[in-house]
Homo-oligomer: 872 residues x 2
């Protein structure tokens, strides 16, 4: 087995072995682009490293040294040589891009003798101190603060603001003091042997594959831990050599809007990390045209070549050393949902890609962002703008100020929904907080800073580089340049599209859909192997669903209809009834409301399916919890408070999730089924009389047994048929069951002939199959992620191995006995692209998700169709 | 299809079609015994009746009339004729005997003219009034009280005590007033057409198949509702004709003791119902020898013939009409457990049956009775039943009411021996109280609730889910639904075999284990296809298990070991620890106790398997609930009460059954696994040094994922191997997993290679597969039984279709990848004979049940083996 590859030995299709970065470095080398030469230690070597308890085998070491020799020959430089030294960059690169999640060491091979070689002392000292700093951080794992703090201290002592203001002598002092700090922390002196440096750095990159932020990133992005990372070892070129040098990043199109224009930024006399770290604010790529005209021309040509070659928008890193351009990386660029859609549709129109490629190009998850909210225009007019930063990720949001990710999590756990994370800059450690917050505000860094990249990926609104603000972390305050002082938990509002920051709360409104988005969605209809419906009860949700192209309601949760004031009273009365008569009496009072609800739904969804689930949750969920509400209810029911409390207590359950709910309510209180069926059928008759086309689907939840299903089904049929006959109406309806209990899936062959449809309730099915409840799992799931036992949240992405096996077999069994049975999915997973791909494979006919996920689901369905056609 | 059979058309092997009673009537007819002739409407006709919404098809009616004609020819009498009338009995008879559960009508065909025919008027009036009474009850469903009350009233008016004291005239008046009452209740006059009477009676018998007591009986006796009942129509013979007539029942052996002696009773001048009804006290069968010497001689010969013919003790009904003996029924007699064992072993010794037949003859479930205390029969007759709950753990007990475990301990320390713990429900905290008390009564929870499981394990009698009672903990009272209020220290008595609760003290008698019982158990060893082990933690339980022939411990629940005073404190400290160090510190204090526990177990079980399950239940189960205990604990932990409360609250769960427990504790707190492994291995080393033979099996609970299993397994291996190496010991141990989460069963192929054994935890597996918790299911299961959705309690008998499918497939998959894997079952079902039969079929290697169920399991295993050999 081969473990190490020179850049001329690979190509772009070898990302599994070489990682994305490495494969593209090879590809660019083959294209003849100006890429500093190097070699790649493959992902196989990483896997081998982990299999050998974190050591690199002799075989692999030999290959590394062999390639190193080859690199010396190619560059004509010698590693560690004091006359003609070769310096290296060592960078991670997994199969799938994980920006900022893993580690990089630059200027490797540096030591005192090598440093002496360079005539430009400012440059060589600067490179040396950066190397020590990165090595200490990445390889040794010393706290970042030690060296950064020391650097800041020296800058303070020297009274300079920017790194570039430090003199040669200053930098020399930095190196000395860095070495001392290194010695203090490690009890050994800084390693001078370049080969030792190299092997340690490679190991450190391997190790960084399993650092906590990488694990979290993988989980959020569905990347398996078994892939491992490759390590790219490449000759250094220096953007920090002098003022004829620079370093930067650029996109072939605007990654925020998708506009076809070169987009990016650079810093003169700097190394790559400076651009990302946001210590100095970089210049827009436009300025390159004047500052480095030749390089700019060459770069635009290369950008064009790369985009055409990869058929996709490229994200490139470049360095200019002494007026010579080098390309250090290219990859398909991350983009906002808006940009993704625009780029895909533009590339299609430019004939660079075909329809299927356009559909596959857009990450379905990012569509979320297009559906994001904007400020209410009227409220915005009177809003007080307190600062302006860079528009880093679109959308608007308001929320309570949180100065760290911990506080975000804390408030979220206390049911706060609107939270803004405010920081000087973010680091990968903040990733969970960024995930929860609905807005990110940073004071430093540009539109390619960590905060910006991550926020865009998540569709979270983000304003960056808002340097007029000042954070006092200790006192937890945020001060504006006009002297306003805000505290933690005060409200601010962010506009990620303009970069404006406002005082207080500005209400947000729902998004408007653009043409290219509609075109893309229209396109998906050509590749529709499953129907997409929405989970909705209200008219508003139903209309939203329709506007996004939902083909019906796949789940109407009737219990959500019981919470309005007058209804909840009678509903509670029903629950607390002691006799069947009392119960029927209360139900009769609810009936007219239910008829009205369903009638309105039928009208709005005219001609489309409406699937209504009978009452599902445990009854005690509807009962009052507060003292005063109980007193009121007791009075209204004309029973004593004590009696009420007793009745409420008698409804309490040890494990409500596994209690008296769903069809079990229908078995114990058939009168509930009768009332709901009446309401559905009477509403349908009413709507049909007005020439709406209605065919209600009545769905029975939580079934686990054939006779139980038949018992409730018979009540529905009897009730419905009687009303239809009495009204001489012609309404037809369907009866189906949810499959959400493992036993129901297991006995599918037994029950499929009793129903016209199945709908998999994957939330409950996941809970029961795993034997843990969603609400309680939070206590141990963090350990499971941290220890890599779980690589994804089974409540977000369907567990194909366990839950999926139940689903697959249940569908197969059902179709054997009832070939016309219609199969749906109405759990959370119905809006998750990866899960949708699975559902398409196992023969699901429709998925039903929340209205705002309908576009995502439509795109995911089309992608699944195309993938199945293409890859079988 | 043939629906109606004459007695000469059937035989004893046709019970599926003819019912047990009918098949035996045919068999006796064929044997030439004096059986009044008749015909049988088959079970197929009953099924047809239910399929046709309760009507008898014309085809079947025709067959009935045809057989009726044949019967008229055979008897020379004519149905409804006033000159030579044929009177009939109409009796139910299912495939399996269901004594008293269904209905009978005697003297059918009677009307005014027929009545006139008989010269003995006392007799004919008596027969007529009986007929009206039975018809009104059985066919019309009028309340029994109406006619019985009227009869009693007339007896009062006439000032007589016994029916036989009524004169001809009195009886005539009874008939007149009966007819009036019938008219009043039915608004029609009493039917005079015999054919109408007959068909109505047949329908009534069919209908009685689904009366509530029949449904309950079937559920308790595992009889499927699909079988239906047959109807036996037979010429009447009259034991009430005169004083040369009599009627009675007799057994070929004593059904209570098994003694080989004719046993039974009879009444002169009576019909069968009188014997059962107990209005007059019947005479012992011995007296027949003097009163009817010829009949007696004939009867003893017939009894002998029948017993030899059927190879089993017979239960016979007979009638003497005018000194002529008729046999009306024979069947294998019901018997007590004691009798069952004696009869089986006696018949074996008498060479009437072989070993296999002897084993199959004893209903394994009845062995329970031989192992527990029972109430004194005489005292029980006068006892006042105050409530009825679920029979959760067999045996009888009386004692003082204690509302908490503390009071139990307090009274026990004051030398009170008879104590009943009465609680809404129990938790592991109550374990010491349960251990001391001689009876447990809970108001909530089913037969697999905590109280039930623990009580069964200890052989303590227990009644569960007794929801008609109400505890007022504050005032320490127990109230019955009839308003009786009992106080702490008042006496009650419990029968854990029936679920009845009695007022006051009923003395109990000890069980006696006889030689024949031991012989039977020894016999089972010859047919042992599965090992039987016991669930046990204490030395007492282990010794009990050994005495019943358990071949090891199949489940040692370590958490039960943590409740003694000193331990619980450190265990609570461990739970409430904020840091790993604190937790390890507390665990280190528990370690010596655990070592001692295991060491003692290993010594007692020398050479036998000991399977130890790592900590399983949610931690908060161990925390104090009472104010004063919390205050005490806070003080001991040196934290504030508020802090303690916060920590306790943070451990609360929404659905504890699906929460942070089992292996999940091992993943979040690996130090618990380390401590328990240490304890097990060090104990094993200690025991081995003393020349005991030990190979501990370490079992991981609640696994649902391969990596999770591997993570904990690695900790166990590492810890164990290190200790073994350090001690230069030679202990070998096994690691296995419980399969109790549906997902674990589904991914069996994936995990089987990681372990040496599986143990199915069928309690949890049933809960998760059905999606209901056993504690909450009590709220709706009664409806499920009543509506015949469930025919048995899936927590008592394994659900073969759902849960069983998971088990079967998991075993198949496991053996494919790991042919040496050992398969056990340690849930409640491991002690249930029907379930054991299933486990034997699907390849289980051992079952592990509570010590007192070991004999039952051993017998059930042997029966399963023999059935498999015989029927494949």
């Amino acid at each position: 087995m081969k473990y190490v590859y020179s850049f001329n030995e690979g190509n772009k299709d070898m990302r599994n072995t070489l990682g994305g970065k490495g494969a593209n470095l090879c590809e660019m080398t083959n294209l003849g682009l100006p890429v500093p030469y190097g070699f790649i230690v493959s992902t196989d070597a990483c896997i081998d490293y982990y299999n050998n308890n974190g050591s690199i085998s002799d075989e692999i070491l030999d290959e590394i040294y062999e390639k190193l020799e080859e690199l010396e020959k190619t560059t004509g430089k010698i590693f560690g040589d004091s006359k003609n030294p070769l310096l290296l960059s060592v960078r991670s690169g997994a199969r799938s891009s994980m920006p900022g999640m893993m580690d990089t060491v630059l200027n490797l091979g540096m030591n005192d003798e090598v440093c002496d070689f360079f005539s430009n002392k400012r440059f060589s000292y600067d490179s040396y101190r950066r190397f020590i700093q990165m090595y200490a951080d990445v390889v040794m794992g010393f706290p970042k603060e030690s060296f950064e703090g020391l650097f800041d201290k020296i800058k303070q002592e020297k009274k300079v603001k920017y790194d570039t203001d430090l003199t040669e002598e200053d930098l020399k002092e930095v190196i000395t003091r860095y070495k001392e700090e290194y010695q203090r922390l490690s009890k050994t002196s800084f390693p001078t042997d370049p080969k030792e440096q190299l092997i340690s750095a490679i190991k450190a990159v391997f190790k960084s594959w399993n650092n906590e932020r990488a694990i979290t990133y993988r989980r959020l992005n569905d990347i398996p831990s078994s892939w491992g990372t490759a390590v790219n070892v490449q000759e250094m070129v220096f953007g920090n050599k002098n003022n004829n040098s620079a370093t930067g990043v650029a996109f072939t199109r605007n990654p925020a809007t998708g506009e076809k224009v070169l987009y990016g930024e650079y810093l003169v006399n700097a190394q790559g990390e400076d651009v990302v770290a946001g210590i100095r604010t970089p210049k827009s790529i436009i300025n390159l045209k004047q500052e480095f005209p030749d390089c700019y021309n060459e770069f635009t040509k290369i950008a064009d070549t790369l985009e055409k070659h990869y058929h996709d928008m490229q994200d490139m890193e470049f360095t200019i050393e002494d007026n010579k351009l080098y390309i250090l990386q290219t990859r398909n660029g991350k983009r906002t949902g808006t940009a993704a859609v625009k780029i895909a549709m533009d590339l299609l129109k430019e004939n660079m890609i075909d329809e299927k490629e356009a559909i596959l190009m857009v990450d379905a998850k990012t569509l979320d962002q297009l559906l994001h909210k904007t400020f209410n225009k009227e409220l915005l007019k009177n809003a007080e703008k307190i600062a302006e930063g860079l528009p880093a990720s679109p959308g608007s949001a308001y929320g309570k100020i949180c100065f760290d990710a911990k506080h975000v999590k804390y408030l979220a756990n206390n049911n706060e929904k609107n939270l803004i994370l405010v920081r000087d800059e973010t680091s990968p450690e903040d990733i969970e907080g960024i995930n929860i917050a609905n807005g990110i505000l940073t004071l430093r860094g540009g539109t390619t800073s960590h905060a910006a990249v991550v926020a865009r990926g998540m569709g979270t609104c983000c304003v960056c580089g808002c340097s007029s603000l000042k954070i006092d972390y200790e006192n937890k305050t945020l001060e504006t340049d006009s002297g306003i002082i805000l505290h933690e938990d005060d409200y601010i509002s962010l506009d990620g599209t303009t970069g404006y920051v406002y005082l207080g709360k500005i209400e947000v409104e729902d998004p408007v859909i653009k043409d290219d988005f509609k075109e893309l969605l229209d396109l998906t209809d050509k590749y529709k192997s499953m129907e997409v419906r929405a989970n909705a009860e209200t008219l508003k949700d139903s209309k939203t669903a329709l506007s996004f192209g939902a083909l019906g309601i796949g789940l109407c949760r009737t219990e959500h209809m019981f919470f309005e004031n007058e209804r909840i009273f009678n509903f509670r009365k029903m629950i607390l009834s002691k006799t069947k008569e009392e119960r029927e009496d209360a139900l009769n009072k609810i009936l007219p409301y239910q008829i009205e609800d369903f009638y309105n739904l039928f009208k709005v969804m005219n001609e489309l399916s409406v699937n209504i689930r009978l009452l599902d949750p445990p009854l005690h969920e509807f009962l009052p919890k507060k003292e005063e509400e109980k007193i009121e209810l007791a009075k209204a029911l004309n029973i004593s408070y004590e009696d009420l409390n007793n009745r409420i207590n008698s409804l309490k359950e040890f494990n409500p999730m596994m209690g008296h709910r769903g069809i079990r309510l229908g078995v114990t209180y058939p009168e509930i089924v009768v009332m709901q069926t009446k309401a559905i059928i009477e509403a349908a008759i009413k709507a049909e009389k007005e020439n709406f086309v209605v065919e209600p689907e009545i769905m029975i939840p939580l079934v686990c047994n054939k006779k139980e299903l038949q018992y409730v089904k018979d009540i529905i049929k009897e009730t419905a048929d009687k009303i239809i006959k009495e009204n001489k109406a012609n309404v037809s309806y369907k009866i189906g069951t949810m499959i959400e209990i493992p036993r129901a899936a297991i006995i599918s062959k037994d029950i499929a002939s009793d129903v016209e449809f199945y709908s998999f309730g994957t939330n409950d099915l996941t809970q029961m199959t795993y034997g843990f409840s969603r609400d309680d799992a939070e206590k141990f799931l963090p350990s499971y992620y941290q220890k890599q036992i779980f690589e994804f949240d089974p409540f977000v992405r369907v567990d194909e191995e366990g839950v999926g096996t139940l689903i697959k077999n249940a569908i197969k069994d059902a179709k054997e006995v009832n070939k016309d049975i219609k199969i749906g999915v109405c759990g959370e997973h119905a809006g998750d692209p990866k899960s949708i791909e699975f559902f398409a494979k196992v023969g699901v006919d429709y998925v039903s998700c929340s209205p705002y996920r309908v576009p995502i689901a439509r795109l995911a369905v089309a992608q699944a169709t195309i993938k199945t056609e293409t890859f079988g």
